[in-house]
Point group: C2
Chain length 251, copies 2
DNA sequence: TACAGATAAATTGTCAACAAAATTGATGTT
DNA sequence: AACATCAATTTTGTTGACAATTTATCTGTA
């Protein structure tokens, strides 16, 4: 067993910009606030504790969080808008199962966006940014040392979210939050079960290039990084589910 | 007066991908469906019939559309997620008033995304695409001939949405839908009242470059186009509202 | 007259009950 | 025994009412 969970929030890179002005935060007691419900669900999805295809029943979630069904419903609607869950009318909400096409589109959009982020980070010339990135990379290494695969994948995604946030473009940060969440789902769906051996210290190298303010190298490393991740996926055939089903039928 | 409205839907470039599987469409009678409410509101916003800062009261909208408040609330939440409206807790929903910073960010993200779209369109080699683009450009010219400023701006935005949709990347299309809506708001907020004289036949030129499959020229034209639009804006000072207020206080 | 406080109106936030639909399980027929 | 039909349960969708907060109005005092 190797399920020792690496501590979260070492470097906080979540909550995609406040949807509305801050509020007193209903942190009364048992009942969880909207944001808490949202974050707990999306974190569970990013860590694959809620695998793609899982049904998210409203009543069940409401009981779990000690909240009303209406509130859960709201959160599910938001997650659906971010394409991290899918709503089937009169059937309920399910954790999304991105298709191969979806996966390709995500990477295609991420490439130019990440380049934009890199350029902005370098332009900022802020040593504090590099420090925060280094801290995050350390957290990633800790997760890798602990062999906590779930944390590894989540933190990998959060590195890019953090990068976008530190770049100072709030819009890009929000988009990256969404794209990184989807990427987590995609990796869990299509990653060859072999290993996350690929893309190991690439974040560290990218951080170094940013520290050196070497734009060309940073963008090249980032592009290659994304291509490596994409290349590690089994995008040749359809998603597992359908394949298994058809295979079972064919025999 | 010059308010003769150019007919919509000549080239349909709306509704950013179905959020959930299609449903029978509750087109019973007076009551409007979710999508109808959404589209009517966002079209009104894109045409500036609902200017930035307008309060969108739930009860009022519910009466107007003959729908329940809950449904209106849902639609408003969605529009808030797309940043086209802003929610103030216990105060209600308002048409967003993007800041200068927001505007810059939108253009910064649009540049690489539009380039991506252009590359994909050219790679598709589909004459039908060019035909649809030409048809849309014609609709734009009709609106310009009719001096229908609202339609001009909305159709300008929809050109880019259409482009993204035709590029075959659904994710990009969804993002562009959101960015184009925001751009409409921004133009109405910051455009020098002078004219939309700038960026007149640029869409036509871009379309031609796409038809010629001249990638370099198409991307250059597109980039310049976006820069022209951005340059036409009064982004030097804060938005009108705040400026007036401070100016009044200073005297 | 101008301002502070309090009351009244309007609007948003929340919830719980009801209605509709789909899934599951049971029954009867071939 | 297999299939189709039908009933029962579970789950989603919708509505309406109630509570909480904000905004506007009114009153009294300096």
């Amino acid at each position: 067993m190797q399920t020792k969970t690496v501590k979260r929030r070492s470097v906080r890179a979540s909550s995609p910009a406040p949807l509305q002005d801050e509020r007193p935060a209903n942190d009364g007691e048992g009942g969880a606030s909207d944001l808490e419900i949202y974050e707990r669900i999306i974190t569970s999805i990013m860590e694959h504790r809620l695998p793609p295809g899982t049904k998210l029943g409203e009543d069940k979630l409401a009981n779990i969080f000690g909240a009303s069904r209406a509130r859960v419903r709201q959160v599910l609607a938001r997650l659906a808008l971010e394409r991290v869950v899918v709503l089937h009318p009169n059937r309920g909400a399910f954790v999304a199962e991105p298709t191969v096409e979806d996966a390709r589109e995500v990477f295609e959009v991420r490439r130019p966006l990440e380049a934009l982020v890199v350029r902005r980070i370098i332009a900022k010339k802020d040593p504090a940014i590099i420090a925060r990135l280094r801290a995050h990379v350390e957290a990633e290494e800790a997760a890798r040392a602990a062999r906590d695969r779930r944390a590894i994948i989540r933190l990998s995604g959060e590195y890019h979210i953090l990068l976008a946030e530190l770049s100072g473009n709030a819009l890009t940060a929000r988009l990256m939050h969404e794209l990184a969440s989807l990427t987590c789902l995609i990796i869990f769906l299509y990653d060859a079960p072999s290993v996350p051996a690929c893309r190991d210290q690439e974040h560290s190298e990218i951080t170094q290039a940013l520290a050196d303010r070497d734009e060309a190298t940073a963008i090249r490393l980032m592009t290659e990084h994304l291509e490596h991740v994409e290349a590690c996926l089994d995008l040749s055939r359809g998603r597992p589910e359908e394949l298994d089903l058809e295979a079972a039928l064919a025999s």
